[in-house]
Structure formats: C-alpha cells, structure tokens
C-alpha cells in the first residue's frame, strides 16, 4: 500500500468536517433536514431543496459494491507503485455513492452487489482516506436486519 503518497484531498469549507471526521476514523454525511435524504459531495445547500437546511450525520459505513474498474494507465506520480489499481463505486446504505478503493481484498474478489464496509488504513500526510473491504462477521441481530439487496 502506498496511501501515504496518494494525491491529497482538495479541502474546502464544505468538505472540511468530512475530512476531519475521516481523521477520527468516522464516516459522516450531510443529511437534508427537510427530506431526510443524505448527499455527497459536501455542499452549501441540500440538492433536494436548494436550501441550507442540512446537518452532519454519522454514516453506517456500509454499502453495496455498485461497480468497479481497474486502472492500467497511471495519472498520478504517487500511485505508480499501486498499478494496476482498482476504483470501486460504493452505494452507501444512506444513498450517496462514493468512489473509493479496496482494502483487505483485490479486484479479483470484487463482485457487484457484495456488501462492503469502510476502514481507514492510511492516507497522505494529515489525512485518512476511507477505503472499503469485506464486512466483518456481523453480530447475529445485525445480519437478520441486513438491508434489502444484501444478497444481490
């Protein structure tokens, strides 16, 4: 892994709390207070109303592998050692998509529809990058209430 040499995030006034939370190994999302729907990337207003009516909420950190690709062409000097590397599109249980990478598994094991969960194995200086890997064996009651689509 060479997460330390990844391009640094572009931090702005809207995503700063997101990156601060990642630094504490927490995944947070903005939730529209009018509709209850979450959105990402962070923004000054809710895209569902256009109004600055939102709050930060703790995300479950779980979602479904929606699609994935494997890069064979390198665009970033700091990622040369990772070639070829996967990027996965995860549909979080809260609704928004994240584009992220795999941790604890490879693209060969990636199956669309599989459950993934967030982890924070490292990042460029001052940051922890959310990565996604297989869901740890859940407690009994949690698996009973697994979201619809978990087996897809």
């Amino acid at each position: 892994m060479s997460l330390a040499t990844r391009p640094a995030p572009v931090v702005d006034n809207w995503n700063r709390p997101f990156w601060q939370a990642c630094g504490e190994r927490r995944l947070i999302l903005q939730r529209c207070t009018a509709t209850g729907r979450c959105f990402f990337p962070p923004a000054p207003v809710s895209p569902f109303t256009g109004r600055p009516e939102w709050e930060w909420t703790e995300a479950s950190g779980q979602g479904e592998l929606w699609s994935f690709v494997v890069f064979h062409q390198n665009y970033f000097a700091g990622m040369k050692d990772e070639m070829p590397y996967p990027v996965v599109m995860v549909k979080l249980d809260e609704g928004p998509f994240l584009l992220t990478n795999l941790d604890g598994m490879t693209a060969a094991d990636a199956r669309i529809g599989m459950r993934l969960e967030v982890r924070f194995p490292g990042g460029p200086e001052g940051f922890l990058l959310p990565q996604f890997g297989p869901v740890e064996a859940p407690p009994m009651e949690a698996s009973v209430e697994a979201p619809v689509g978990a087996a897809a």
């Binding site: 990337p41 665009y75 584009l99």
Partner: protein
Amino acid sequence: MPADFAPSTDTPGLKAPGLQQPWAMRDTVAFAGIGTTRYGNFPETDSYGLGCEALNAALDDAGLKPGDIDGLIVNRMPSYERFAEMMGINPQYCLLTEAPGRFSGVSLALAAQAIATGAAKTIALVYGNNGRSVRMMYGGGDSQWSPWGMTSPGAIHAMMWQRHMHQYGTTHADLGWVAEAFRHHACLNPDAVMHGRPITRDDHARARPICEPLKLLDYCLINDGAVAWILTSAERARDMKRPPVLLSGYARQDAFHYGSAPPDDFWQPTLGACQSVYDRAGIGREDIQGLGIYDNFSPTVLFSLEGLGFCKPGEGGDFVRDGTLQLGTGRWPTNTSGGHLSDSYMQGWGIIAECVRQLRDDCGDRQIPNAQAMQYICATNIAQSLILRRDA
C-alpha cells in the same frame, strides 16, 4: 434526482416537460458550409492555425468571405477575440463555448437560436484542437476523487459499462461490433486517421486494457484538427453555393444530479426525453437513413441507442450484433467517417459535419444510399439529439 423531473426508466419514450410542444425552429436554419482539416500530429501549427484552415474551407464551400460572417462561435481555441482578430471578423454576435464535446450540439443550438431571433444572419462555428501535439491528458490533476485515483472520462465510462454488463448481461465482445463497424468506415474514408488499418473483433478483444473493463480499441483517438460549420437561415442558404442541409429538430435534457460520480442510469431518462426530437423534426425514426453517435468510448454508442429507443434498455448488445451499424451490412450505418474511435476525436464537431456531407452526397465510397435524413445523438450529462435533412 428531484421526483418532479425524473421520467421513469421503466417508461420508454416518456418525454420531459416542455419538450412535447411543436418546435418553432423546425427547418428554419441550415448548414451552408462545412470545412474540416486533416487530423493528426501537427506541432508546426496550433488550434488557431487549424481553426483558420477549417473556416477558410467552410467559407469556400459556402461561397462566402469573412466579411459575410456576422456571428461567431468558437470552441477549444483559447480566445474568441484573438481568433476573430486573426480572421478579420467583427461580428454582432460572438461567444466561446465550454470545452467538453457535449458543447458541439449546444453550440449548434445556440447558433440556430441566434439566427431565428435575428441576433445574427450568418454564423461561423469553429472548433480547433491541438490536443495531440501538446500531449493533452484527459485525466490527472486535483479533483473530488483524485485521492482515490479516480480520474479521466474513460474511467467514468468503464465504471458505467461494468455495471451495464452486470445489470443486463452485455459483454465486452458486444462493443467489438461497434469498434469493427467504425473501423470499416474509416477504411472507406481516405481522410480518416485509421484509413488502411482494418481491425477485427478479435483485435478488439485482445487490445491492451486501459481502464478495465475497457481496452484500447474502446477509446477515441486524440488528434490535432479543426472543424467549421457555417449556419444561416434556410432561405438565405438556398441562394448559396451548396444545397442546404436543414436542422429539422433538436432536443436536449440535462441531468447534473449524479453526485459528481458516474451516472447510475446510463442517461436513460434524459436520452429518453430526447426522443421528442422526432416530433420536433416531424420526421419518424423509419425515415432516417443513418446515424452520428458521440463515441468518445464505445459503450456510449449502446447507451445512445438504448436511450433513444432503437432498442430496449439493456438490449444494445443484441442490437449492434451482426453489423447493424456497418454500412452495406446493417440498417443503421453509424459514424460513416470512422467516428471518434477510428477517424478522430473532434468532440462531435466532425460527426455532425459527416452527417451534413452524407445529406449532400459528398461521401464517395462511404455514401449511404439515398440519405434523406440523419440523426445525431450525444449521451452525456447534457443529453441531446438532432435530426438533419436534405432540403426538399
């Protein structure tokens, strides 16, 4: 997506609000001139030099001089002002449009609106790009997703295509039919960059991966080159040198709600809304002889065909099998110049120019027999379709 906008993908052909009305501009604006340069690696010139060359070719084609141009739309050149200064054009209407290829169709619509409202009489639209000689990278740099290494338009389409294969059972081999057909056309077009270099579907399958699941022959060709169109009213065009080609219909629906990520719906709702182009043009699908499809990457051809209702969602692979898009073989000859995949990535400008040439019988070995009407489709976050036809 706001619920009041979203047409359901389960309802093929559902039209977006406001697009059903008769189109006031049907057949009122025409292409009077077309000019294209060679496409390749030309470090001895630049986007301005290429743009001037294309515009001069279009002026000659139309039988016009720079002083006849009173409207100017410039794309991919750094400055409209410098370009106008170079060409000695002082228009009453002028703008520079955004760089992405979706703006070829947008620029065309803007020009048509300007002519229809009297803002200008005769508009030159000039695209000039020297992306190859300056080694333009479509990827890298800082962005929302760069910490995760996600970058480049190709990766966005690779992500969508992986999902399409999962959702519908399409395969990478389906894209081989697209690549092979367009390369066949390039081999019929002496001006195409890939003229004389045929490929098979086997070559497509064995090409090196760029961003899996897409491979080299799923990608467009970055080159230096320029394209110019001259538009004017149909009435004025009838007095010019070449037979006018009419803009019969245009439809557009944008969608910007994807969270800066690859679209999760293959643009089916917005392309579906663009099916109103047939009503707007007063021309049915069966009255169209050939297509121009924005093929920055091979999957967009399937997304376009599905979205515009040539087949059902997910059936694009079946639809293109056996050479449906290949001239002389299938019902729907598409991108007869070779398109972005096998002629050159001129961001839609060259594909639209080819549609005009088909309607003037200018295409030689790659001429579609009895071409009366052509349809252009662009599957992007600004979904668009337009229909061009011969003047009766």
